[in-house]
Symmetry: C2
Subunit: 112 residues, 2 copies
DNA sequence: ACCTTCATTCGACAATCAACGAACATCGAA
DNA sequence: TTCGATGTTCGTTGATTGTCGAATGAAGGT
């Protein structure tokens, strides 16, 4: 378990973010995090193996969409809403609104 | 040259559109078409082979982002702005604004 | 008819991706 | 220190992607 690396706000690029959000599961994860609440890895329920979920979280993290924090053996993930809104004004709002309307990634939920 | 097929507005999905727009060249093409103006294939200048450009235009068309019209041997392409705005309110506006600010796909231009 | 122009399609290639199970590493608790 | 829980990494597999050049198909002009 290495230190997760996060790109600087200035390193966040539009094509990369769009690629990260072009997957229904990742879009579902982002929807789940849209309330700004930090979530534990263990809360996340998605219809994929845990290694696949780890991969998706890494893609989101590498794109600068989420931030991961470690506490002991557990990970907590959070949407980088402020950075994203600064970098891409109105984008997340529009995206989240559409994703909710179409229920994209609705099979991603949170337990607990 | 077969009849180009376009998805119905209801068939346009967010993940597909985001995937289509996650490529700098395609984003550049969309920026070029953002004024609503119809453009001839021959006007489009992008740093790729013509077969590659044709491929990118097909990806955009299949995702429902653009509309292609044939007139004789020539093709004209246009952004499906109304359909996109109906389906995804505010999304294109936010996207185009950011793409312009970052000059994503700036190497895609129009001659004539 | 023939040739030119224009755009798509084909075939090939290397690269990337989503997905899985298994192995590994790390930390807290027993 | 051994164990269990947690998350990452590895190796693989099948599918998709971006790219090119060459071949193909469709009009239009000569």
């Amino acid at each position: 378990m290495r230190d997760p690396q996060h790109p600087d706000p200035s390193e966040i690029t539009l094509p990369r973010v769009l690629a990260a959000l072009s997957d229904p599961i990742r879009l579902g994860l982002v929807r789940l995090l849209a309330d700004g609440q930090e979530r534990g890895w263990g809360e996340l329920r998605a219809p994929v193996a845990k290694s696949t979920l780890s991969h998706h979280l890494k893609v989101l993290r590498d794109a600068g969409v989420t931030q991961t924090r470690q506490e002991g053996t557990r990970c907590f993930v959070q949407l980088r809403r402020t950075d994203l809104d600064t970098r891409f004004p109105q984008l997340m709002a529009a995206l989240l609104s559409v994703a909710a309307a179409d229920d994209i990634g609705g099979d991603v939920t949170a337990a607990r």
